[in-house]
Each structure stands twice: as C-alpha cells, then as structure tokens.
Symmetry: C3
Subunit: 334 residues, 3 copies
C-alpha cells in the first residue's frame, strides 16, 4: 500500500531530507525503478544514478548530503545502514491495515475439529486435517496438506503444495516455501544380521520450528525418531536443504541451498553453513562458526567456535585449508 | 493399539521377565517416556535410568538381570538385539487388526477404469488416473497424482503430494514420502551440431520399485529412457536423493540424503552410499562397498567389493584416502 | 500415432532403404523392441542384432549397407547421426494432428480473469490464479498451482504438482517436471547487528524462462530480488537443481542433477555443469566451459572459456587438477 515518506522514515529510523508527503508504494532496484518506487544505495558511487532515476525517493547512507537531494529534487532517507532500512521499508510497504477477514476458499477442505484463528486465509484445495490449529493472520497456500494435530502460530505464510506431517509445531511468523516437507520420517533402520534386511526404526518424535524461521522451496526437515527435531528462532534455511531427525539447530543460523544434515547434529546459534555443506551424524558446530560451500564435516566431529571459518572436506580451519591448497598446487607444478 | 507384553515378547522373540499382562501402546525414548510406553536400552549404563523411568516396560540385552526387574517392579523383555526387537515391537504396536474397510475420501478423484483392492485408503484430493491398480491395504495420501497405468502393490504407504508418472510399478509394502517424484523423464538429449540445440532423447521406459523399498521426501527417480530403472527389494532411500534413468539398484542398498546417481549405474546388493555421494554414468559399485559422505565416483568407474570402504573425490579406498590426507596436512605445515 | 516409414524418413532427413509403407508407432531399444517399434544403432557391432530383433525398422549410420536390409527383410533409415534422427523420429511419433480441443477438467479451478489459449489442457485439481495467461496447446498437470499473473507460452508441458509463484514468465515449448518450484523467493537477508537478527531483503523481482527450456523434477528456481532471474533459450536443467535469485543463464546450457547456483551468477551460452556442481555468488562461467561433477566455484570467480574443462573444488583446469591428483597419490604412497 502507499505510504508517505514521513511514515517510512519513522518506521525504519531514517532521517528525512526533502518532501515527506511524497508517497511510495513499492521497492525496486535503481535500474528498474519507476514512479512510486523507493530505492537504496550503499555505495557513494551509485548515489548520482539513484538520484537521476525515476524512483520517488532514495535511502542512502551518511555519505549522502542534503544538498544532493535539493539539487535533484528527490527526497532522501538517510541512515547508518541503508540496506537494512530498505529491507524494513519493504516490509512496512507490504504490511496491511490488519483489518482483513478470514477466508477459506470454497475448494479448501478443513476438518471440523481444526481451529482457525482470526484473519486466517486457506487457499484453494488445501487440506487441514483433524485437530490442526492455525494462529491469527496465518495463510495456508493452495494444495498444502497439513497433517493431524499440527500447530501453526500467528502470521505464518505457508506457500502452495507444502506437506506438514502429523504433530509438527510451527511458531509465529514462520515462512515455508512451496514444496517443502516438514516432519517427515527420519532415515533410521536396524539391520537384522540374520536376513540382511533393514527393519524401520520408529520415527514417532516431533518437529518444532520456532518463531521467525524461513524455510526454502522443496527443503525437507525430518521429525525426531523418538524425541524432537528443533529449528531455533530466526534461523533461515534456503531451498533443497535436508535436515535429519533429532537435529537441534540454534537461533539465527543461516543454512544455504542444498546443505544436508544427517541425524542428531547440534548447530549452535549464529552459525553460517554454505551451500551443499554436508554434516555427519552427531557432529556439533559451535557458535559463530562459518563453513564454506561444499564443506564436509565427519560424524561426531566438533567444530570449535574459536577457529571461525572452516573449508573443505573434511572441514579444516580456513588458514590450514589454504596452506594445503597452495602446497598441492606447487606440488602439481613440479 | 494396546498390546500385552506377553504378545510383544512372542512377536519380537524376546524373553519376558515380570508381569506379561502389563499393556503398552507406544514406544518412546527413556527421557520422554510416560505411562504405556515401551523403551529400550542397548548399553548397561542406561539400564538403571530406564528402570527408573515412567515407561511401562524395558527391552534390554542379555546384560539385564531378572533381579533388576524385580527390584524396580518393571517388566523386562530380554533379547540379543534390543534395538531390533524395539523396532519390531514398534511395528507390532502400529499394526491393526486388518479389519478396516476401504475408504475413498469424497474429494479424491478415482477414474472408473482404476482398480482398487480391499482396505485401500485414498485421501483428500488424490488423483488416481486411468487403468491404475492399487493393491490391498495400500494408502494414497492427500494431493498425490498417480499417473495412468501405474501399479501399486499391497500395504504400500504413499504420503501426500507424491507424483508418480504413467506406467511405474511399485511392489508390496513400499513407502514413499511426501513430495517424491517417481518415474519422471530422464535427462537425455542429443545435440544437433548444426544448430547447437539439444533434441530430447525419448524417455519412454519404465520404473520398477520392488517390495519393501522406502523412498524419502522430495526424492526423484527417473524412469528408463527405453528400458527400465529398477530399485531392488528392501532398499532404503533418504530425502532429496536423485536416481537417473536406467539405473539398476540392488537389494538392501542404503542411499543417504542428497546422494545423486546419473544414468545407467549399477549398484549391487548391500551397498551403502553416504549423504551427498555423486556417481557418474555407467559406473558400477560392487556388492558390499560403502562410500563415505560426499564421495564422488567418475563415469564408467568400477568400485570393487574387496576394497570395502571408499572415500573422497574421486573415491579411493579409505586407507589410501587417509594416507593422502595425512601427507597433505604435513605438506601444509612446512 | 502410427506413421509410415516414408513419412518418418522425410521428417528426420534419412535415406529409406526397403518398404516405406511399413508403419511404426513407437520407439524402443533393440532388446525390448516389439512389433511396430523403431530402433536405432550407432555402432556397426550392434547392427546385426537390430536387424534380427522384432523391431519394424532400424535407423542406422552410413555403416549400414542396403544389402543388409535386403538380407533381413527389415527396412532401414540411413543417416549421418542416427541417435539424433531417432530422437526426432520419437518426437514425430508423439506429435498429434493438432486438432484436439481445449479441456479443463471439472475439478480444476480457473479464475475468471485467467486467459487460456486454444487446445489448452488443465488437469484435475490444478489452480490457475487471477490474470494468468496460458498459450495455445499448453498443458497444466494435476495439482499444479499457477500463481497470479503468470504467463505460460505455447505448447508447454507442466507436469503435476508444480508451483509457479506470481508473475513468472515462461516461453514456448517449456517442459517443467513434477514438483518443481519456479519463481520462489531468493535467499537474501540483512543482518541487524544490534539484535543479531536477520531482516528479509525484498524478493519482488521476476523469473523469465525462455523458449525450449526443460526443468527437472523438484528443481527450484528463485525469482530476482529486485530485478530478474533468466534462463536462456534451449537450456536443459535436471532434477533437484537449485538456481538462486538474479542468476542469468545463457542459451543451450546443460545443468545436471543437484547442481546448485547461489545468487547473481552469470552462465554464458553452451556451458555444461556436471551433477552436484556448486557455484558461489557473482561468479561468471564463460561460453563453452565444462565443469565436472561436484566441482566447486568460489564467489566472484570467473572461469575462462579458453580453459575448457574444469574439475575439483576450487575448480581448476582439468590438466592442472589431474597433475595435483597424481602428485597427491604419489605423496600418499611414500
């Protein structure tokens, strides 16, 4: 919806220079911006082109002088972290008045024992099973299948064709992208040495996803075997990520696309895992560790927070990895 | 359902110590156990806490003495492989009397030419196409799309939002988790050197999945190009695994999450592939080989069974890999 | 449908030897061929078995002499690139007369503002949202969810349970396999250093997929953050591939299964990426480069076309990689 710049400045904590009554309705990049768009620049070099663009206003760092606004006639929102302010402005522009009503599309199928909060949207063909609870303001996309006794918190957004197995619990403001599967059976078997066959180990635990988590398209998170799998508050998970049973992921963890965690892994707060990282069972990644893309961590391994950045398979502290790489390159030239 | 311990002891082949009339209804871990739960311990160190838990009974190894049962007042099921017995007990507790009736939910769509066996469950919004056959006791989850002429055996469980392409054949007791795609077109093209464009090679073969296979969430298995892709009896496949056209996977093979097999690969019986393993076309992995996580196998390569465990990219026998890793680490320290 | 060999010879540009009035209806491999099948051989060694098979006719290279046709009584289609001719013949046999009518299955849900072209097929339970455009001859599979304002070109085939987010644009003859997710939010956040929390960066750009692209099962392609993600004409993408926001993929690029591209990557025309290749953000892969399976490319890296084939992590020219591998193997034997 349209907002006055003055409102946005207040919402994101920026200093307004210029006409605060100008209205913007959306965000854009400088190159694609048009009337009514808000853009941002982090680098002084791009300020001039932002001011010359068709955008209605510019968010910029302290680099931007009020004089430049005057010269261009374009209002500025000045702040210390323009990209963060831009992200918040985008969220502010997306937010609505909150007065919308609940809507269950005619083709959706909601069991009578399910409890839907206020302002809940259930799109076409979604299936809401027995005893499900959906919190206020949440949206369930078309074709989703929400299994029995699942609990979804407030203001969640579940995109189409997501499957949530029975008993999973999602906090507030959780975003789940299309095709993701939450709470599926873990990969656990016991081999019968007599027959050579695998007997399925029971996978009857639960999955708990805390507030403000975002989960990418077609990612899969298994529930606990007997106990729980847990994804901590504020953690962000990209597309096609796999998280096995009994994993405990901390808060504000970032997991890039196609990373895979086998079972019973502990990831502490603020860890960053690059794309295609693979972690063996029972490993522990301490707070603040960053693992570079395609890094591999052996089962039972502990990556210490003091070592910071890890790289390679098996993952080594970056310094060590680079030395070995250099030595190998030298060796290959002999 | 509730079962007496005496019945369970007989079902799993354990020796009962204590009151066989005690009833249990579910399995749990020692820490989360409550009334009516059955737990297990493999390690003598945890026996005391299991006996002190709220569980109704404990499965334990020969380590457990009848005296400990007497002292705690908790019945024991003693056997040589407690984890296996526990897995079987869990299955026994899940099994029902077999008297249930077929149920096709009103919103499911079953073509008149499809043939459903006895005690078949078709959940909400599932689509069962022309000439499909579903065997006795099988369940098709909500939102599944079962293509024309697909055959599903007995007692299969297909979770929601699975897609099975035309003509695929599933054996008995096959479990397919949510979002999996079975029988899709393989990745085959012929390049026209004149135009530089790729012409699609026909992908019209079939996919055969034998009995007792389990397939993880969002995994994809392509059908044969002209002939068949086959997954052998008892093989277990984790989430987000890719299996290309014309692969022939043996029996009791274990494939961990995100492993990827390109086309025309042969995997013999009892092979174990770690997570994120990648295998090039026409490779052959002999019986009993184990490939560690992230291992990479080149096209046309044969991994010999006598070499046992392989690791790294390109995959080498473990001993060799470890030596090279040690040498590299040493070199990096110079 | 059934076609006379004479027609096929003309359609694929082959020289007919033998009875052109023979009819074929399908393609097969030599081993599985039956009555009415067309087979091909590339290698002289297999010509005899092809001629002795139950197939109705054989496509072969210039190796095949008219005499062999006479001796076997089986017609031959002779051409310089038999596999390409076979692929084209398969396409020709699949093509129909083009006279079919539009069909929207009763259980599909098409919003009144959507515009469907001629001969469009919308299968069971598919959801076609507001302002969607579907071109002539395109098919939308069962359970698909096509978001608002999506444009799909002519003669596209979208398999079941695909999700396309709002605003994505697909060209003509695009094939999308089951479970794929197109146009999902990219993985972009801004960290608030004060709270340690991640703020979602707006993901409001679009996704453009050009003509003749094929996308594998359960693959995910994110839309641009503010601008666009683009997949060039004729590019072929295998299963479980991830392509991040703002990537620009050229024409006739081949991306094998489980490869992953993070954001803002440029892939020039005619590049080939092996399975499980991983590429860091802002990298550029020049025209004609081939990256071997599991290769890893660091962020911001440029792979030069003159270096041809790359391998390993970090990806090196193949020659270099092989030398290093040999040196390491030698070192490990000391």
């Amino acid at each position: 919806m349209k907002r006055r710049l003055q409102e946005i400045a207040e919402a994101v904590g920026a200093r307004l220079v210029g006409d605060g009554s100008v209205k913007v309705s959306s965000v854009a990049s400088v190159v694609s911006s048009g009337e009514g768009d808000l853009v941002f620049v982090e680098d002084e070099r791009y300020l001039a082109s932002a001011l010359a663009s068709s955008a209605a206003a510019v968010i910029a760092g302290e680099i931007a002088s009020p004089a430049s606004s005057l010269a261009s006639g374009k209002p500025l929102l000045i702040c210390s972290h323009p990209k963060l302010a831009f992200a918040r402005a985008a969220r502010f522009l997306r937010s609505d008045s909150g007065s919308k009503e609940s809507e269950v599309r005619e083709s959706a199928l909601v069991r009578p024992s399910a409890r839907l909060g206020a302002r809940v949207m259930v799109e076409e063909r979604a299936v809401i099973s027995e005893e499900v609870e959906i919190g206020d303001g949440s949206k369930v996309g078309a074709g989703c299948v929400i299994g029995p006794s699942v609990k979804v918190g407030k203001d969640c957004e579940i995109y189409p064709n997501v499957t949530i197995y029975a008993g999973a619990i999602l906090g507030d403001r959780v975003i789940v992208h299309a095709g993701a599967v939450l709470g599926s059976d873990g990969f656990g078997y016991v081999r019968d040495s007599a027959s050579g066959r695998y007997e399925k180990f029971p996978q009857v635990g639960r999955l708990v996803i805390e507030d403000d988590v975002e989960i990418g398209a077609n990612s899969t998170i298994d529930r606990g075997a007997l106990d729980e799998t847990r994804i901590g508050r504020g953690t962000k998970i990209d597309n096609l990520v796999h998280i096995g049973h009994n994993c405990r992921i901390g808060e504000n963890v970032v997991i890039a696309a196609q990373a895979g965690l086998s079972g019973s892994i502990v990831i502490e707060n603020n860890v960053v895992l690059g794309g295609q990282v693979g972690i063996g069972e029972h490993a522990r990644i301490e707070e603040g560790v960053m693992v570079g893309g395609q890094g591999g961590i052996l089962p039972n391994k502990v990556l210490r927070g003091k070592d910071g950045v890890f790289w390679g398979t098996p993952a080594r502290p970056l310094r060590e990895y680079l030395k070995q790489l250099a030595a190998l390159a030298k060796l290959g030239k002999r």
